[in-house]
Amino acid sequence: MTTDKRLRIGFIPLCDATALIVAVDKGFTAAEGLDVDLVREVSWANIRDKLNIGLFDAAHLIAPIAIASSLGLGHVKVPIVAPFSLGVNGNAITVSPALYASIAAAADGNISDPLVTAKALAKVVATRKQRGQDPLTFGMTFPFSTHNYHLRFWMAAGGVDPDEDVRLVVLPPPYMVESLANRHVDAFCVGAPWNSVAVDLGIGFILHFVSEILPRAAEKVLGFRSRWVRENPELLAALVRAHAKAADFVEDPANRDEVCNILAAPNRIAVSADVLRRTFDGKLKVSPDGAVRSDPNYLLVGRDGAGRPDPAQAAWLYAQMVRWGQAPFSDEMCRAAMAVFRPDLFDAATEAAAGPAPGKIGAFTGPVFDPGDIAGHLASWRIGRVPIG
């Protein structure tokens, strides 16, 4: 298929934009007859607005923004369709050396266990309160972000109320490291490579990979306006195919150096290939003294069915919006949220045989998530903004 239409796709410099960047820079989109212009953006609000008004044909989006936009939460209601999942997992929680020391001192058990650290955080918070100190400040990337929900999910399990006991503030990812260095925040949750950058500078400890908190969590999607999808079915299928091929290329360890060099370019992620490589190897330096922690599932780009959007993930994200008071609860809204993730479009474009069922979200605490029982999920937590049942 060929087209004379030039497509504009926006992205934020993060490792989970890799399938998109490689699809374009390695020629997978050109092989599908597509002419794509990648536009690096500085804020999620810009990406959302430019996608909404049609300046972008598609965009690298944090999954909750696609859902919020489709439901009309917090902003203009523009239905978004996500036929490809750009990344599963990839976030980490990084804390300042001072907070790391406090948590380690208060920990009753192994500090690599998220329940142990969450409970230790509750003790640190209580001590600070007694002493009349300012509440701890945690950075995250956007009100409707996985980072916001991951931080909240983790700390609430230990008894910390994210709205009452600490401050959660939005920070653009490239500002996270600087803000930790000059103590505007005590910790942050962000995607790769920013956690590694903080550790390398000696100003942060990676406390947890989010894959330790939720073994499989949808992160970024390739988002389109629903109307664009109706009007351009062939372009959409070609783009999804190019992304699926790019994701396979990214996941082949033999291509890792090449992939990291593509990403390191000044107009892409602009972080050294060595640091980027740790993310894909799943081997991250977690403390300034050089300690390394490994998790093969740190970031999934297409592997194990990660490219195929899973509506159960959308339901989990919607449940977090309800839990923290961002969205009202209704079955109708839940169905609308799930309908943003479109495995059918993925299957049609890639002509893939039905693979094994996607991995469960899982969690270090609480009951197994059932997308058909959001009320049950919400009722199982002590801390939340909306009492259910």
Partner: protein, 194 residues
Amino acid sequence: MDPSFKIVIVDKNPIRAAILEDGLREAGHVQVVHIDETSHLLQRIYTLDPDVILIDLENPSRDVLEQMFQMSRVVKRPIAMFVDQSDRASIEAAVDAGVSAYIVGGLRKERVQNILDLCISRFNAFSRLEGELEKTRSQLEERKVIDRAKGILMKAKNLTEENAYALLRKTAMNENKKIAEVAQAVITASELFK
């Protein structure tokens, strides 16, 4: 237009901010504050307590402002985005110009429409100005390159300045290139022969 509005401009570009600030003052707004430093942005905005916030789209801190829409104990009053469903044309013009506007509290958007319009026209004027400046700058660069190439030719071929320029121009015409490109080639070649 209501001169009692307090307007905050968040822009790291001092020239563009000054152009916008001037425009707003000319239009009768006396309470205009420019923030060029984005650390502790929300706290500063809460302290200033503005009615309207204008921010340039090159500023990553736009996402920080999005947090104001969330229900939170620090927010004193609800804040709404200026651009909504009915404002398609406005939001397109604003994004195109590179600016975004937020209004605070219950202000009716018709009352701030002219602020946004002014913002868009000033941002566009700034882009034009920047474009012209860039053009002048590159013309000046080209001038310098041509002068150097003329000097090299005058010395190497014992030409007058006029003839050296004529030679550059003729070569450029024959090769269908810009004079500055030929001049650059002369400089590069002469450096290779050094």
